[in-house]
């Protein structure tokens, strides 16, 4: 799931001696561009065109309508809470997986990816059963903002773990040993040595998790429901489509799209920065 920049090929000496299908002829390029246009670009262009089809004024009216603003605020605030929580717990889990030894560690390592593999609607259903009105644990948070947060925590859990884990694995432990021999305590070592080294991975993981949380739909749907107070932006867009307000749906979609693009831009900047500085 990592969104690594793919534009760092090994330097090639001369292209003349390398023969691979579709390369150097332009046919390959053409087909890739065509496929991407049909699958991704044209549909998204249709959303942009629909959003502004009744003019900029109408677009702004739709985006700033009270319900749209409410859903955007809810989504952003919940996503922020979620990435902070997963930033902390994700780092702890990555730490346990790299530096700790305990029985069942390989199973834990495998289970981390479960949210990538389990359909979101199944996650929503089971979270509802577990933390809903029939909760065997006696915790009923269904259809509340807490439910939005828990659903988003579930789907974004792997991002931070998987982004921090490789950095921890690669980290030179001599630095920590040196710091310890100079009298630094555990917390100081973490703050001054480990944390700064993990920062690029943590930043990238958090940004990816945030982008995912902003657009999440399935896992929130059953568990948090569509009450006015728990309508996240994606559910709001779905509601607008169902009530045939396609311009409104597209306008809010554009806002969501822009936010996610900014975040992905951040990820690629962080990765380029860390590639230069590590």
């Amino acid at each position: 799931m990592e969104a690594q920049p793919a534009n760092l090929p090994a330097p090639t000496a001369s292209r003349a001696s390398l023969r691979l299908p579709g390369i150097g002829t332009g046919v390959g390029n053409g087909m890739v561009v065509l496929y991407l246009s049909i699958v991704v670009l044209l549909p998204l262009a249709a959303v942009g065109s629909e959003a502004f089809s009744l003019g900029l004024g109408h677009f702004w009216e739709q985006v700033t309508s009270p319900l749209a603003v409410k859903s955007l605020k809810l989504t952003v605030v919940c996503s922020l809470v979620v990435v902070v929580l997963n930033g902390i717990f994700g780092t702890i889990l990555a730490w346990l997986l790299v530096r700790d030894e305990f029985p069942g560690k390989s199973i834990v390592n495998a289970v981390i990816d479960l949210p990538f593999a389990l359909p979101t609607i199944v996650a929503s259903l089971v979270l509802l059963t577990l933390y809903g009105s029939d909760s065997p644990l006696g915790i009923d948070i269904a259809s509340t903002r807490a439910a939005v947060v828990v659903a988003l925590m579930f789907v974004t859990l792997p991002f931070v773990v998987r982004a921090v884990q490789p950095l921890l694995l690669e980290m030179d432990r001599e630095m920590e040993a040196a710091a310890a021999s100079l009298g630094a305590g555990n917390f100081t070592i973490f703050r001054r040595i480990i944390f700064p080294n993990l920062l690029p991975g943590l930043g990238a993981g958090v940004a990816l998790a945030f982008a995912r949380a902003l657009g999440e739909f399935g896992s929130v749907l059953l568990f948090a429901g569509g009450l006015p107070d728990t309508t996240v932006t994606s559910v709001f867009i779905r509601n607008q489509v169902e009530s045939n307000n396609l311009v409104g749906a597209s306008a809010v979609s554009m806002v969501l799209l822009l936010a996610s693009l900014l975040l992905l831009g951040c990820v690629s900047l962080i990765q380029r920065w860390s590639a230069r500085h590590v």
Binding site: G22, G28, V241, L257, S260
Partner: protein, 262 residues
């Protein structure tokens, strides 16, 4: 030492509450009233149709995105052009776009009044039909094979490919005999992720499909419909099928990661 136990408690406790108990819960709830009711729901005509449709989505989207993914990765790594940064950015888009927005985008493009609505008028129904669902599945699962193949291609370098070319192999021979065998585990990992994503996709497909029972319902849509119809046994039966597929996915991911590292 106490801080180590504290971290274990926090990390593993979090994981247990968020992932492990929910996973166990799927199994428990499905068989709460015995094996009969969930089995009946999954093997009902609508349930079987949903399963078949989900498999059809996989059968179409995964090969297409695999061929595209390998070809695109080859271009990105082995052939530097001015288009590369743009292509790279577009490939990441499906990760950034909400599934609901993806569904909406196809609805707008192919639906009534859309730029491509003529296709529907010619008789090939796209929206509220299988072709639209296939397009949605392809869109959401596009990046995986490219993303997993690019780093492997970078790592293996071009020495062997150049040697093959020098010895007179043509492009396809070099690809089949040298390139593909060296990147196969990366590609396979990408295929597994693509398959899991297509099987589980809900948001994008729900918008373009209309979720008509027995017609345009994949397994995740079937789960939602069963739940909405207060048939939670049916919802759990189908969920269990999806959860088992997810566990197989996890197993395959781990196996392939190990092969890749070896």
């Amino acid at each position: 030492m106490s801080s180590r136990w504290g971290l274990r408690f926090l990390g593993l406790g979090y994981l247990t509450l968020l992932l492990l108990i929910p996973l166990a819960m799927i199994f428990y709830k499905t068989f709460e009233d015995g094996i009969g009711p969930p089995l009946d729901a999954v093997t009902s005509p609508d349930g079987l149709h949903a399963l078949k449709l989900s498999l059809l989505m996989v059968a179409i989207s995964v090969p297409l995105n695999t061929i595209f993914g390998v070809g695109c990765a080859l271009l990105l790594v082995r052939h530097k052009t001015k288009l590369n940064p743009g292509i790279d950015a577009v490939i990441n888009l499906p990760f950034a776009v909400s599934p609901v927005v993806i569904g909406l985008s196809l609805y707008l493009l192919y639906g009534v009044g859309g730029w491509f609505s003529f296709i529907g008028e010619e008789g090939l129904k796209i929206v509220f039909a299988v072709p639209g669902m296939v397009l949605a599945s392809i869109f959401v699962s596009l990046p995986f094979v490219v993303r997993e193949t690019v780093p492997v291609l970078q790592e293996i370098g071009t020495d062997q490919e150049r040697a093959a070319s020098t010895l007179g192999a043509n492009g396809w021979q070099t690809f089949w005999k040298i390139t593909l065998p060296s990147i196969r585990w990366g590609v396979a990992y990408g295929i597994v992720l693509t398959t899991a994503r297509v099987l589980g996709e809900f948001g994008a497909v729900t918008i373009v499909s209309g979720s008509i029972s027995g017609q345009t319902q994949t397994l995740p849509l079937f789960v939602e419909k069963q739940y909405a119809n207060f048939n939670s046994t049916g919802a759990y039966g189908a969920s269990l099928v999806l959860a088992l597929l997810a566990l197989i996915t996890l197993f395959a991911m781990n196996l392939l990661k190990r092969k890749e590292d070896a």
